[in-house]
Subunit: 188 residues, 2 copies
DNA sequence: GTCTATAAGTCGATAGAC
DNA sequence: GTCTATCGACTTATAGAC
């Protein structure tokens, strides 16, 4: 079926992009993973830029939902932040994978302008969500020493993304853990 | 002269790698930048992996010297950290460039194992240097609230690298500034 | 040390049959 | 929707003349 092939292509492309970057996989790789021939992919995604855009749109929507779920499940800012950190840690998959946003950020010049805009929007969404965590923590004291929630949110995202990058470079999740440990000591 | 061509190649390659990544430049680009023909590069660097290794070795030595210089120039941990942050901010070059370590980390699978080892060694060097900053700050109180110097060092490097990545993705240094602002408020 | 010429492979993308 | 066949551009790398 049409839909299944398209989803299968997106799944394979996301896995490949997060493991090897946008330029690290080819239509040939995708074709083999999904079990169709290379040119057939162009029916679903005429250009690779179309695939990138679809990939980022789907990822963005999914993570918005996951963050919504965390917010519904946890009341305090600290508990939400803890779950958020766990999500980034899980995305590492043993040091073989990255958040798609980080993976796309590393190869900006092979992406069209509208995908760059999607990356910016994704980061703004994540920072806004984190901002709420730190805002709440000011009142509920679930994170120590929060003086500037907006700065905390921006810093937390860069910390997590940088930690992912280092961990994947050496294929060693312990580097992620080392980098985020300080932030975790502030959680009550 | 031999030496000059080799240095010119390294200079051009470093600029290109930091701006576009290891896979983002070709021997053709280098040849044009330096003013020789493509195959002539192979005389100096038989394979691209040789070039990568030389690039990282030179960069690592240079940054070790720069950090030594900062340590000689500044006494307190806070003043040293401030200079270190400035160095990472300057490396951005308006959002068009990255630290070579970050640039190499983004394209790990196109690098040979010994260059990956160089990246690890580079990061360990940076973290050890930062560790001294935070150790000093415990005594001289030049950075607020330092309880765990080792954790602070690991977190600071990931923060700076993540901030660089975000800033270059959108070619906007303000994203770097937003991410590091919190750390800077702790400097006395 | 640098050159010309070329090999051998990859890539994304298109044309047109079925 | 998927196929075969193919294009043109690009890549790293080598051979051998100068």
């Amino acid at each position: 079926m049409t839909t299944d092939t398209k989803s299968a292509l997106l799944d394979a492309a996301e896995r490949a992009a997060r493991a090897q970057g946008v330029d690290g996989f080819s239509y040939a790789d995708l074709a083999e993973a999904v079990g169709i021939r290379k040119p057939s992919i162009h029916y679903h995604f005429p250009a690779k830029s179309d695939l990138s855009a679809a990939l980022m749109a789907r990822y963005s929507a999914r993570l918005r939902d996951v963050c919504d779920g965390i917010a519904h499940q946890h009341e305090t800012g600290g508990a939400r932040l803890a779950a958020f950190i766990d999500m980034y840690r899980a995305a590492l998959e043993g040091g073989k994978s990255l958040c798609l946003c980080v993976a796309f950020s590393t190869s900006r010049d092979s992406l069209p302008a509208d995908v760059i805009a999607q990356i910016r929007a994704f980061r703004e969404m994540m920072i806004a969500w984190l901002r709420v965590c730190f805002d709440r923590a000011v009142d509920d004291r679930s994170i120590a020493d929060v003086a500037f929630p907006a700065m905390e949110a921006a810093a937390a995202l860069s910390l997590l993304e940088g930690a992912q990058l280092a961990a994947r470079a050496e294929e060693n999740p312990a580097l992620f853990d080392n980098a985020v440990q300080l932030l975790q000591t502030r959680l009550r």
